[in-house]
């Protein structure tokens, strides 16, 4: 079709005087996994909030499969195929894990019976099936992160925005989740991923975008980015440089 899945054009998001995202532009092509990195407070989550409709950008436009989606509310974006997770997880605490996922499944499968079957499948895929009937509030933080992924996947999105879903996982668990994301991509889902774990970023992403103080300071293959002196200075630190 030629349209990128996501096209961000000169997006600026200002809070009062603070430009949390400052004139950022980039594309995400179908089937890509794109990493988004940058120091704490660089504006990554804010950018996600803009793309997924939680914030209305101060300036700039956003296109999804070629359609202008700037300023559309999150629930409409979810319907057309943008799924996201939250860095500060937002489970439906009083509902069971299964019910949490069912809420998402209902979007595409409005009948209750279908929804339940589908939700089971999603839980199995994400490895949460044994916790299906536990209340979401009893999950630990990483468990909740996994639930975030499950819910976002249950929407059957074409674009998945993942905000630090690996934070708090130990290396082995990180490996599992990395595999999971690869499988998701193999199902044809495009992924935009925020992560501080460079191992993950290096191994998963086709392309990496780096933000610093709201501005895009670098973009390129993982290797290029990791060698970029600006990125090393702002983000990786000398010790981490490859």
């Amino acid at each position: 079709m030629g349209h990128p899945v996501l096209n961000v054009q000169s997006v600026t998001m200002a809070f009062g005087g603070l430009r949390a995202v400052d004139d950022v532009s980039f594309d995400v092509k179908p089937g890509e996994i794109v990493g988004l990195i940058g120091p704490n407070g660089a504006g990554k989550t804010t950018l996600f909030n803009v793309i997924s409709g939680y914030l209305k950008p101060t300036q700039g436009r956003i296109f999804f499969h070629g359609d202008d989606i700037t300023g559309k509310p999150p629930y409409d974006l979810a319907k057309i195929g943008i799924g996201r997770t939250f860095q500060i997880v937002k489970p439906f605490a009083g509902l069971s894990v299964l019910e949490n996922v069912m809420v998402a499944v209902l979007l595409k499968h409005p009948s209750k019976k279908n929804a339940e079957a589908n939700a089971h499948a999603v839980l199995e895929f994400t490895g949460l099936l044994d916790k299906a009937h536990m209340p979401a509030s009893s999950l630990t933080l990483p468990g909740r992160k996994r639930l975030e992924i499950a819910k976002a996947l249950a929407l059957e999105p074409s674009l998945l925005l993942l905000d630090e879903v690996m934070a708090g996982l130990n290396p082995t668990e990180v490996k599992e989740t990395t595999g999971l994301i690869q499988q998701v991509r193999d199902r044809g889902v495009t992924v935009l991923l925020i992560e501080h774990n460079m191992r993950v970023i290096m191994s998963l992403s086709h392309r990496v975008i780096v933000l610093n103080y709201g501005e895009k300071i670098a973009e390129g293959s993982p290797k290029e980015v990791a060698e970029n002196p600006l990125v090393i200075k702002a983000y990786l630190g000398e010790e981490m440089a490859v």
């Binding site: 990195i37 940058g38 120091p39 704490n40 407070g41 860095q87 009893s138 999950l139 630990t140 933080l141 990483p142 468990g143 630090e164 934070a167 708090g168 996982l169 130990n170 290396p171 082995t172 668990e173 990180v174 490996k175 501080h196 460079m198 702002a234 983000y235 990786l236 630190g237 010790e239 981490m240």
Partner: protein, 236 residues
Amino acid sequence: MSLLKVEDISVYYGDIRALWGVSFSVEQGNTVALIGANGAGKTTTLKAICGLLPLSDGRIIYKNQNIANMPVHQVVEQGITLIPEGRQIFPKMTVEENLLVGSYLRRAKAKRSKNLARVYELFPRLAERRKQVAETLSGGEQQMLAVGRGLMQDPDLIMLDEPSLGLAPVIVHEVFSVIKELARTGLTVLLVEQNVHQTLKIADYCYVIERGKVVKGGHSKDLEEDSAVREAYLGF
């Protein structure tokens, strides 16, 4: 002699059992790490030590005294400090006020200005931002603030729950060097981390928790070599 000895503690969340008789000990002056899969019970263990969660069973011996089920404000008065998961700073207070709350303890009040100077020396970034409202700090700065606030309590034992969570690599590095620095000044450190590689590098001793039980313990170097540990926690 051990500064802290955790003996066979059990904790329930309502009807769900989270700890099944956890035991380990921390020697004076050591840096001890707890590692384990998510949901293993590390946070629960730290909270139980602090008195944030009630024990259903077991003893916690600190400085030869059983502090099990002591209310939290008394536990910290004994010199135990927890830097909680997720930082938990006071969002509407300034950096300095956050630090001052740290010295609310009777044991720390007298040393308030001395400790404050020490924290600012350790974290010059905080000194720069002493009048800034805490919620506007970046994640890394908030983590420094949380550690600084803990130090203001003038602790003998400092427990850190995933201090590197969600931080940029450059900051993660900084956090670990701070922990090393703390240990060097003679503080006893109990560290919970998922960043197992770096943790094993700075810890003297390490315990592995699985499903609410300590399944292994040993010198960090030995564990790093242990093939089961490597597979389960280091991703090799």
